[in-house]
Amino acid sequence: MRLEARPQPSVAMSIASPVIAVAITVVLGTLLFALLGKDPVRGLMVFFYEPIRSGYALSELAVKATPLILCALGLAVCYRSNIWNIGAEGQLLLGAIAGGGVALLATTATGGWIVVAILAAGAVGGMAWAGITALLRDRFNANEILVSLMLVYVAEMFLSYLVYGPWKDPKGFNFPQTQMFPASTQVPLLVTGTRLHLGFLIALAAVAAVWIFMFRTMAGFQLLVGGLAPLAARYAGFSSRKALWTTLLLSGGVAGIAGALEAAGPLGQLTPHVSPGYGFTAIIVAFVGRLHPCGIVLAALLLSMFIIGGEFAQSRLGLPRSLTGVFQGLLLFSLLACDTLIHFRIIWARRLAWNR
């Protein structure tokens, strides 16, 4: 058995590969749960059904997916343009810091417009942070993978400095946290009784905007060409500097908005734990979503489903967290493996001999 490149990507496989991947995961998952002495049906249900069983469950799924969608969108634009931004986490944190800083200025009497200011500040914060990477790459040809990654740690330390130092809640017993933001800064909820907030709609709007930008505008086309064939882009006179700045500022901006949404949304204050690694998980989301805006929405929902399902597997089945991680890994692995079939086909050794 060996792989052979297809002359052109298979349309049938591009639709079928996720289905096959899910089927493989179901089969392997059934085996896994059976080996652990758990009911496989219950095991599969906590991952595939419980996270979507009710309106409330769906709202939680959307809350979890929102920062992932936003970060992954920006990353997909970068990656398609051959700019390897690994630092969405840092850009998200700076967005949270900038947005949180504005939120701290508000009082209970401040109007709802403050939310717009918070999100704008978040976008600027994220863009500024990504801008450092762009500047260093542009001026000194510094590797953007390293620079953007290292800036994540700088962002973490900066956030820590603020919440341990000047922004610390004076009534907080010296714990590292700001005071709770006033209610006026809360990102509006879409459905009362849930945590589903405006951020989810913003994320969906961003999906549409990025889709139009990438596939329906000249600027987007230039980026794609620059990513696929840098020499052709150069020959056509498309500026690689412009591509560098556009993609990094765009991805920094959306990651920053994601951070501001987290801070002024479900969190409501700044702590050292603004993000449980959304910026890094978003890299997986971007690739599982095949760097396509619509794919990213599905991938973000899928990953959120599995993160939440992992908690359910612990609380309902008593499975340890590490095993839920194994199951999550199974799905990602089969998804990426099956995607190989879009560009390659399997040649069975027996058939090969016959062909010869």
Partner: protein, 382 residues
Amino acid sequence: MIDLNKRWWLRAIACAAVASVALVAGCGKEEPKPAAKAAEAAPAPKPDPLKIGFMYVGPVGDAGWTFAHDNARKALEAEFGDKVKTTIVESVPEGPDAERVIRDLADQGHKLIFATSFGYMEQMLKVAETKKEIRFEHATGYKSSENMRTYDSRTYEGAYMAGVIAGAMTKTNTLGVVASIPIPEVIRNINSFTLGAQSVNPKVKTKVVWVNKWFDPPKESEGAQSLLNQGADVLFQNTDSSAVLQTAEKAGKFAFGWDSDMSKFGPTAHLASAVINWAPYYKKATKDMLDNTWQTGGVWWGHKEGVIDLVAVSDKIPEATRKRIDEIKAGLKEGTFTVWKGPIKGQDGKKRLAKDQVADDKFMHDIKWYVQGVEGKVPAGG
């Protein structure tokens, strides 16, 4: 050939699709079964067990903070048998994720829920507001409400006793502490460790390395190594893993276990383990629920209540020091001994507690400074 290929693939895809649809449909059909079973079991004469939920910040693992909480949970199950049923969710990030987990535990019928890290405070408070019929317990925080209360342990008592041993065992008169994050609890523990050491060896100096993480074995290990390089020969840590002890073991120096008994991670280096045993509190809280006497409030328990202890004391420790530890334990039990009793001077030489003045809990919660003998500066904002 290509045609045949395509047909083969289409057939394979069709099979896969049918199989997965069948499986998914199967899942759907299976659903009512467990419910039906539960309904049949419901009218049994025995009352339903009290469902208790635990949310942990780290993996249970085999040592440290979360491990100690989980041991207490097991003790709880052993004590109450089928009167209780416990559930755990581990490695829950502090922040918005915690709210979802707490709410889900509440929706799943858990009547008593423990959140075992400071960073769950606001989230638990939010859920408590909307689930008045459920009782919430938050470790190490300071906010409570009518159905949410706090509990904590006086870890500084263990740190002080470890300090007494360290003061007796050091040859270089230099102790090292690998510290996590600069909140009063940790600063208090560094100070208490130093005070303990000074009580038997006034020449002792303490060096501190902050790693800004609760659980990060490589960083903890690096911190320990840098302390050893600076001449420290007895190490102590206020972090969650056994990395510091293991580093000391490799270097042939001494160290302690923290939160749980860590003697097996460094049999030669290990001097003693300052442990937290949450079982007495978890049993009390459960009893409160079963007896219907649960009331809000907050407790801060120490050796007296059986929550803090120094265990697995090594044979290498001189007899006199062991006796001193026993005296301290007895004193803590009877209330005749207090760690934070004057005279105590700050690092700057300023008098913080006058002779025989005993610190109250408010004073203890507000310690943002080092005592004399600790070197370096408390990090940003301390």
